[in-house]
């Protein structure tokens, strides 16, 4: 009898799809896992595929993800980080906390070539100036017009010392103006209503009507078109080109479930994951989706030229560029 019970228990044990150890913990940012974000649907799809338990841990943003991992050091609570971006890669690599992804990069659909063996993209968008059509009849049509255009039409920008979009604009001006970047900042300064600590504050001021322009993403108008049925806000296409934000994921070197992390990275480039990106994360998918994008996405600006700076350059020069910005903007 005892033997029978033991055998039955063992059989039952081996049949259980989920064992206690089979949990994948993913550290990401809050708007990803929110009710309205892509997290819940992705969790369901991945759990059905892997027969495991996916657990999200969410912090403020990409920078907060990296910082929490650095604080945790050798004993991370997560197996995978999802939501770093291209401008954080150099620093993330230098931390030595991440392992190679081992995935094929063939399925990637990015405006730039991608060869990184550690950080795997899952979505992207170009930085862009978004403007309010009701407030601005004649917006600047180029970065030069924005910089030179004088006082009419103010813009809210983000601080490069505290936010990734702020860093994006820093890179943008540097890529277009090079050595003359400080002059460009001195001119642009007249147009700047204020500099906010992060994207949220800038976008809140913009939608409250404080300024007719804000530094955001090419995909921002999609939210207003689809969720609010409003075409009031549109992004501006600048012929000088736009810098890119590419969001990436990476496996932790000290992951407790490395095999599941690999499985998730492969799943990340499949339609089960990518389908959720456009209308849940309001970014462009980095790989094929099962359906074409919603028609509203055709109204979005697709920059003809992408400004691509090597992550190493950005990391090496960030401090110098920020100082230059500080000087020009405080004068």
């Amino acid at each position: 009898m005892l033997r029978f019970l033991l055998t039955a228990a063992l059989l039952a044990w081996s049949c259980l799809p989920v064992r206690a150890g089979d949990t994948l913990t993913v550290l990401t940012y809050e708007s990803f896992t929110a009710d309205w974000g892509p997290g819940p649907a992705i969790e369901r799809a991945f759990e059905a595929e892997c027969g495991c338990d996916l657990k999200w841990v969410a912090v403020g943003d990409g920078v907060a993800i990296l910082n929490r991992l650095k604080l945790e050091g050798d004993a991370p609570t997560a197996d995978l980080a999802l939501g770093l971006d291209n401008n954080l890669i150099a620093e993330a690599r230098a931390s030595g906390l991440f392992a190679r992804h081992g995935q094929s990069l063939k399925g990637l659909k990015l405006p730039v070539a991608w060869t990184d063996d550690t950080f795997l993209p899952f979505d992207y968008a170009h930085f862009a100036v978004v403007y309010d059509r009701e407030k601005l009849a004649d917006p600047p049509r180029s970065l030069q017009a924005l910089v030179d255009g004088g006082g009419a039409g103010k813009i809210v920008i983000e601080d490069p010392r505290t936010s990734t979009p702020g860093l994006g604009l820093l890179i943008w001006i540097k890529a277009v103006y090079g050595d003359k970047a400080d002059e460009a900042w001195t001119k642009l300064r007249r147009r700047v209503l204020t500099v906010t600590p992060g994207w949220s504050e800038a976008y809140a001021l913009f939608t409250k009507g404080e300024a007719p322009m804000v530094l955001s993403y090419t995909t921002s108008p999609a939210y207003h078109l689809i969720a609010e049925k409003s075409d009031r806000y549109a992004a501006l296409d600048f012929p000088e080109g736009h810098p890119l934000q590419i969001e990436v994921a990476a496996k932790l070197a000290k992951a407790k479930s490395p095999a599941l992390a690999d499985k998730f990275l492969a799943f990340m480039l499949s339609p089960g994951f990518q389908d959720q990106i456009p209308t849940q994360n309001w970014m462009l998918p980095a790989a094929t989706t099962s359906q074409p994008l919603p028609p509203e996405f055709e109204q979005l600006v697709t920059p003809a030229k992408t400004l691509d700076l090597a992550p190493g350059d950005v990391a090496a020069n960030r401090r110098a560029w920020t100082d230059e910005w500080l000087k020009a903007m405080s004068r």
């Binding site: 708007s31 009710d35 929490r68 050091g73 601080d159 010392r161 500099v195 949220s200 809140a204 404080e210």
Partner: protein, 518 residues
Amino acid sequence: MRQRRRLIGAVALVLLIGLLGAPLLALLTAGLDGREVAAGAYLWDVTRFTLLQAGLSAALSVGLAVPVALALAHRPDLPGRRLLLRLFAMPMALPALVGVTGIVGIYGQAGLLSELAGWFELTRFPSIYGLAGIVLAHVFYNLPLATLLLLARLEATPVETWRIAVALGLGARDILRFIDLPAIREVLPRILSLVFMLAVASFTIVLTLGGGPGATTLEVAIYQALRFDFDPGLAARLAILQVAVSLLVAFAAGRSAVPMLVEAGTGKGRGRPQAGSRWRDGAIIGLAAVFVLGPLAAVVAGGLSRSLPSLLVDPLVMRALATSLVIGIAAACLGLIAAYALALAAAAGPARFYDVVSLVTLVVPSVVIAAGWYLLAHRLGVAGWATAPLVVLLNVLMAIPYAASVLIPAVRALAERQDRLAVSLGLTGWRRFRLIDGPLLKRQMALAFGLAGLVSLGDLGIIAIFGGDGLVTLPLLLYQRLGSYRTGDADALALVLMALTLALAWMLPRSVAGDPTP
């Protein structure tokens, strides 16, 4: 008795310093230093601007609060006074960004005043972005707080003093000169220090309304060091610099403190003879009300959106509401006990020392403390279960300055009045508290509790570091919605938060809220 009080104070002090010092030490010794060092000239500029804006903010907030508190003290029967004072408690719990949107809704480029100016075809309303906007927002946040604290002191003047004043036939001018102004001067340095330190530690307001990096405070540099540069050691060193600078100023302000001339502590806001101009008081109160309620009304108007009804039944919102309430009430209870311990020690020992120490937590950035404790908890392997208790404990730290601002002067005044009586009756310890101090301090305790609860309700710094594992408060939820285009939801959540604040403000003592009870 003094020795026992000193012992209680020493225990509270050690706990306070431990809770603040341990995370700073952890960050300093974590070996996580970045490669870069902040430039000296930059730091100097930043420190200068920090002191400038904080000094202006403190002087204006408190300077303007004095006539408002006096006018309110003169008019205990003013209709709507109780409601007004409760509304005055609301800015305390409003996350900075919500306050900023309220300010901008009135004074901004697309604000009410700008629109009115356009209506009358006047010239454009001047831009507030810059030092003006920063100071304006700080006055909006701190004038009501300073008013509440000043009024609590003005109403503590005992009935006996008023009887003597009436017997001597003192007029309005004499009452001001011999009773009210000495009372104000007694608490003024402390309230100035409190507001000064709050302004020193201001971050979102400074950056968002500052107009550009010319307006950068030390707190911004600390945040930058902790976030983008990820140099916890530098962040800790800058935090220590900020503490040192603020302490210098607070001690300097404390030196100007005037020894108490008027008995205080047990009055109930009753017995004041009618004096002064009814119209002038009414006008002052009216102006202050418009100034504080304007931005609050803008937030309310923004929050009455279509998403409000659906948010009110959203389980996520309900859960965040409950989490906020639990953290707020727990932090307020413990903060009250800690502040009372410090107040007992201050009554027995070097009062100014405890005065200043109880304010220190205001200028140790909560993000730095939280990051340090996160590091410690993780290294000690207790991160799992320690998260929620740590969040509460760190909120207690933040609440202490507010509760202590009410309790330190009250307990000191009480000690002077009651010590001899207690000794002659042989009452000590818990029995003394239950029979003498407790009943007499009921109102101050309630005010301290309310302020402590309100400030934890609005916390974002601590929860931003520790949150993520399902621990979501209302301000954090608000920020999350804002971070994913849902501005309408965020506005509605601000309204929910305000309603919660008002509910808590309703628990403030009745007599401070203008309803003298017998």
